[in-house]
Symmetry: C2
Subunit: 225 residues, 2 copies
DNA sequence: TCCTGCCTCAAACGCGCGTTTGAAATTCAT
DNA sequence: ATGAATTTCAAACGCGCGTTTGAGGCAGGA
């Protein structure tokens, strides 16, 4: 660890994590990263083989941060109340709005990957499932009955995972006119509460009787025009 | 219109609309656009003052396409059943999944603007409200009682607008492993139905008692886990 | 015919990007 | 201390980007 080479390695990963979390993979330039890390541009190629290798290391660190700092104990999830689990899940995802720590940077990184998937990310999660996804799947399973189709489960999963990211994505837009939302802790608490009620109702509503209005699934095609 | 200059002008706008709808503003290069339009690169600067001017024209066309081809008659909205309005709204937003027409390209353009807001877009909607937003606001108003706070209305609006885009964003990811969703018309119909039920329940659940687990209307009790 | 405004074109400009180069500096084992 | 391996460094390379240049084509009126 004290070997001088490890020093710049660590500084690069640290700087890259901050930059990629803020700007995404494409938006984060090696010039900015090396400047923040007080290192030479060539160091990235030397230590990581290139920008992609550095990003892979950053993603690994983010996955590790989830193991370490996650609000949700994966093992305790099955025994949890489903509304409580939903709230915990939302709180974890909305952390970047009020905190700046390792967990919030990890959430931001995964948020970017939701928007623009990277091959590097794709390969990484092919080996090991993303913690957020397994958690979300667990929550969905608490709401959907065993009779739900795989397709329904998949849609619900994708849907749930994206719910909090709507507000994480770029809250700077929302805090300026015409929206003017103030993202302080009180607001985020209200947001979590409101979202928890909405998402809970949405998921709970899934295995209720369908719309009485008509045969929704096989109804007339309106896409012809 | 038949003046030779109008010909390349129109070809440029046409090509630019397709390119920007597919790749967004930053991702769409003038070289690709001019190649598609069989025009010279300098023509963009000549006719529109630059890439931004061309994009402004594309956005104007998209707004016009909404006026022209929208599935939702803004005037008829207040008298519509709220679930029906929700379904129509979702159908309109999910059109890009199954059709490639002017409306679907407009939806895609606005989808990109949801992800990465452009100054050009920002200025445009400052003058005139976005049709999608007013429609969504109308639907939210159908669900939320007059007693709801402005903050709640705002959050619900932002939330609703983003719901369909989750699936529009990049359905190519979802149609490949490990998701493997087939985006044919039948599937999109089922998706609309499922989302309509979920979002309807979510919005309707908002002006119900808060996280009380008691009231019988809110859903099944959580005796299980 | 000549001129004048409109329009097109190939080429080049300046910039930021990720990466490579080759030598200097530093570290480490012998 | 010495030689080899490791690590840093400033500079440059090649590429794609949006834009500019300046010459040239092409009308229509005097």
């Amino acid at each position: 660890m004290s070997r001088p080479s490890e020093l710049t390695r660590h500084a690069l990963i640290e700087a890259a994590t901050a930059v990629f979390a803020e700007k995404g993979y494409e938006g984060g330039s090696v010039r900015l990263i090396t400047h923040k890390a007080k290192a030479n541009q060539a160091a990235i190629t030397y230590h990581f083989g290139g920008k992609d290798g550095l990003y892979r290391e950053v993603l690994r660190g983010a996955l590790h941060a989830f193991d370490e700092y996650s609000l949700i104990d994966e093992a305790a999830l099955p025994d949890m109340d489903r509304d409580e689990a939903l709230r915990l899940f939302l709180r974890q995802q909305l952390i970047p709005l009020v905190k700046r720590n390792q967990l919030s940077r990890a959430v931001r990184l995964f948020n970017w990957e939701m928007l623009k998937r990277t091959d590097i990310f794709q390969e990484l999660i092919a080996l090991e499932p993303l913690p957020i996804l397994t958690t979300a799947q667990g929550i969905v399973d608490k709401f959907l009955p065993g009779t739900a189709s795989p397709e329904e489960r998949t849609i619900a999963l994708i849907w749930l995972v994206n719910q909090a990211y709507i507000f994480v994505r770029d809250y700077e837009h929302l805090s300026k006119p015409p929206t003017n939302l103030a993202f302080d802790e009180d607001f985020v608490e209200r947001l979590i509460d409101m979202l928890a009620r909405m998402l809970g109702a949405a998921l709970a509503g899934l295995h209720r009787p369908r719309q009485q209005k008509g045969p929704a699934g096989t109804g007339p095609r309106l896409f012809t025009a």
